[in-house]
Each structure stands twice: as C-alpha cells, then as structure tokens.
Amino acid sequence: MSFFDAIKNIDRRIIFLFIALSVIIPLLARIEFTERAGPIVKNIFDKVESLPAGSRVLLSLDYGPSTVPEIQPMVNALVRHCNEKQLKIYFMCLWATGQNLTTITIDSVQAKEFPEKVYGVDYVNLGYKAGNEGLINVIITDMKKMYTTDVHGTDINKLEIMKPVRNLTSFDLIVGLGGGTPGIKEWILFAGDPGGIPVAGGCTAVQAPLLYPYWPNQLLGLMGGIKGAAEYESELIKHYPKYKSQSHPGINMMGPQAIAHIVIMVFIIIGNITFFIERSREKKGKLG
C-alpha cells in the first residue's frame, strides 16, 4: 500500500487520537495566547462599564450542561463585572436546565466571591418558567404575572430588588446567554426590538454566525463561543487586574483550541492533496 493510499484510507480513530492529543498536550503545557476584545464584545463590556451603580441587569441563562464549557466562562465574567459595577443582577432562564446552572453560578461566583451582596437586595434568582418566547411576550408588559415567586418560593413582592420592576422595560440591560432556541434571537425579537431595551448576548459558536446580522442595530454586542468569552475575560482583566490571578477558563481554553484548529487544518489540507493526486491519477489512467 502506497503512502497516499494509507492516507486516503486512514482510520477515523487515528484522527480522533490526534485531536485528543492536540487538546491534552496544550492543557498540560498551559499554552495560552494573548486575547484582545474586538468591537462586538467590547460593546457589551463598555455598556456594563457605563451603567451607573444600582442599574438593573437581567441575565437570562438559557443553556444546558452540554454547552457549559462555552457559556459558563461568559456568565462568570459578566457576573463579576456587574458586581464590580454595583449593579443589581436578576437571574432567570428560558431553559429548564438553566435553573440548576444558575444556582451553581450563584454558589460558585456570586455568593462565594461577593459575600457582601445580599440576596433579594442586590441579586435574585427568578428561576425557570415554561413558555419560551411566550414568556418574554408576557413579561414585557407584566413581570409579576409570570414570576409570582423567586426560585426558593418567596413571594416576589416581598423581595426588595423586585419592588421597582414592573416589566422588561424596567431593566437597563438584558443579556441572553444561550445555547440555542429559545435564546438571544427570541430576546431580540420579543423584548429588544418591541421594547427598545438594549439586548446583548453570549452564545455557542454554532449559533454565532446566525446572530451577527443583528449587530449593531438590534443587538448591542455578541460573545460568540469560547473566543467571545476569552475576549470578555481579557477586557475584565485589563480594567480589573485583580482577576488576572483568578481562573479565566475562556483564555485558558483558547490555547488547546488554537492547536486543535491547526491539526484540523493540516488534516483538511492533507485530505485535499490526496483528493487531487487521486483525481490526477484517475485522469492519467483513463488517458493511458
């Protein structure tokens, strides 16, 4: 068997092995690259940075465990930033799986890193409600119609943070952090556009190309995949250097990401070269 035949008939498991190694080795070697926020991500950071203390930010965590590696770094960075700016954070989710992830975020970031913040005064977990875009359609006119209690079953009217909130227009910024439908698109269509509320987003890389057309008129900014998360983290570290010593998974993941991409590109190039060589051989064979 010639070299080209061997390459052409390569077992897909060998490719899997190469991809695995391209991720494992950079993780062990701690390969990191310098990240710099592009205008689409920087817009979100600048908006949060410009909000006066006490402004209300709605974080909608619309994702599940399968997209945690991509979305969670964005959520953590945003929660840290909002707390640094003394903003009021309202957690909610359009995905049932988002409820547990919200609890994890609150336990591991909000309550752990900002113990001085009081639940029900500085932040609240509204939890999950069924209805997808229908839910947004209701809460754009009356928030308390759907949210009678918070996630712990406390009457919404007894929470200090909920007193000034009537509907979605009561928020200064909505950030949809999602891995699919319903997600950022629904926030744009059912809240941002009809209510004139600034909507920003953080999404999986798969979703990003579908959402870029909404920027900048309908979408304030977008964190697309782990690259978007890394850019936001880099901007946070730039403005708040104390976060340099803390975990920044977005930036950490970009090292293995870049190496794996190079390996994939090499395989694509090899695949194309073998394809053209094979075609040229077939042509020669026909002529011969």
Partner: protein, 227 residues
C-alpha cells in the same frame, strides 16, 4: 497529581469516558450512559415543570390555599379563576393519551398553533424582515471624524454586495447569464464563504466541549492540571 475523593466526580468521569468510548465503537458503557441521560432528562423536566410552573403559576392562582404547604408565601393571595381556562386547555391536550378522545387534543393544539403563529408573524416581520432590510441600508462611503474611513466603507460594501448577490443567486425567474450571471456566481462565493465560516464556528464549538471535558477529567478528576 491529586485524584478527587468525591464519588460524584468519579461517577461524572465514568459517564464521560463511557460516552467518549463510542468514538472507538458502540459498547455497553455508552448505551448505559445514553439511557441514563434520557431517563434523568425526562425526570428533570417533569420535576421542574411541576414545581416551577404548575404549582406557582396554575394551582396557586386557582386555589391558593392548596399550595399552603409547598409555597406558603402564595397561599393568602386572592384566587384568579380565569386560570381555569388554561387548566382546561392543558387537560384537553392530555387527551392525546386516549385513542377514543385523542381528537379533542386538536383544539388546544390549534390554540397554541394559532397564537404562536400570530405572535411570531408580527415579531419576525418587524425584526427579521424590516429590521434586516434596515440593517442593509448603510452608506457605501463612510466618513468618520471628518475623514474617509476605508475599513468602514469596505465592510459596508461587502455587506451590500453580499446581500444583493446572495439574493440574485436565489432569483430563478431570469436566466443567470451576463452581468446577472456574474452577480449570481459572486452570490455562490458569498454563500460558500458563509458556510465555511459556519463550519469553522462549529469546529470551535465542538473543540470547546472537548476541552471542557478534558479539563474535567485532568483537573477535577485526576488533578493533573489546575482549573
């Protein structure tokens, strides 16, 4: 190296490796993890639906006293009896489970289809049609701070040419010949570049998930790396 002593981390690692083992070939560990996932997901959605929506948004509205032991903060609210209508529609939807009465479920389904279509028609028309047309109405020559901005002008030109040529490619009432054919071919290139960008982003997403799992296995489980 600091191997985790948490049994849940070990179980998570076992499930991760079970799923990844499918890359080699189908096996009993993969099947076990897959079935466990389906079962747990179904139960999770049901529990969340009951405690997150059914109790606070329906039962507590119709009969607040009935939720005294689970949601005491809502027990003293005045009842809102018009919630009986969605409750009836919900019960009618469950008629699908009966062969004889299954046809009744079409009524609430028709209500859902009708309202969803109505809501979406307006919102999509406004945001996805008018909004997107407006996003394309941009100047070809961008002047920034009193001077010509090349990057801005180039970006806007790419957007406008890309949209027009992409639309021309899908215009089949005229033969794609001459200048129209050239625009159509540019449209194909634009589409191919878009698909390429989409593929690139998909690769990034999948690698991110792999990195996430490897970080879990090598960090949380084996303790080889710090997270």
């Amino acid at each position: 190296m600091h191997i985790s002593a948490n049994i849940m981390v070990w179980f998570g690692a076992f499930l991760t490796l079970s799923i990844l083992s499918f890359l080699y070939k189908d096996n009993v560990f993969y099947k076990f993890a897959e079935h466990l996932f389906v079962g747990v997901s179904a139960a999770y959605w049901m529990v969340i639906g009951i405690w997150g929506t059914l109790f606070p948004n329906l039962i507590a509205k119709i009969y607040p006293g009935g939720v005294r032991f689970v949601l005491p903060s809502l027990a003293d609210r005045p009842p809102e009896y018009y919630y009986i209508i969605p409750a009836i529609l919900g019960i009618l939807l469950l008629m699908r489970l009966s062969r004889k009465l299954g046809w009744i479920s079409r009524w609430p389904l028709a209500f859902i289809v009708g309202t969803t279509a109505g809501f979406n028609l307006v919102r999509y028309l406004r945001s996805d049609f008018i909004g997107q047309v407006r996003n394309t109405l941009i100047p070809l020559i961008v002047i920034k701070d009193g001077s010509f901005n090349f990057i801005g002008s180039f970006s806007n030109t790419v957007i406008i040419v890309g949209v027009l040529c992409g639309l021309i490619y899908f215009f089949f009432s005229k033969e794609h010949k001459g200048a129209f054919g050239v625009a159509s071919r540019i449209g194909i290139w634009i589409l191919m570049i878009t698909f390429g960008a989409g593929f690139g982003y998909t690769v990034m997403a999948r690698i991110s998930l792999l990195v996430g799992r490897m970080q879990f296995l090598m960090g949380d489980w084996l303790g080889i790396i710090n997270r």
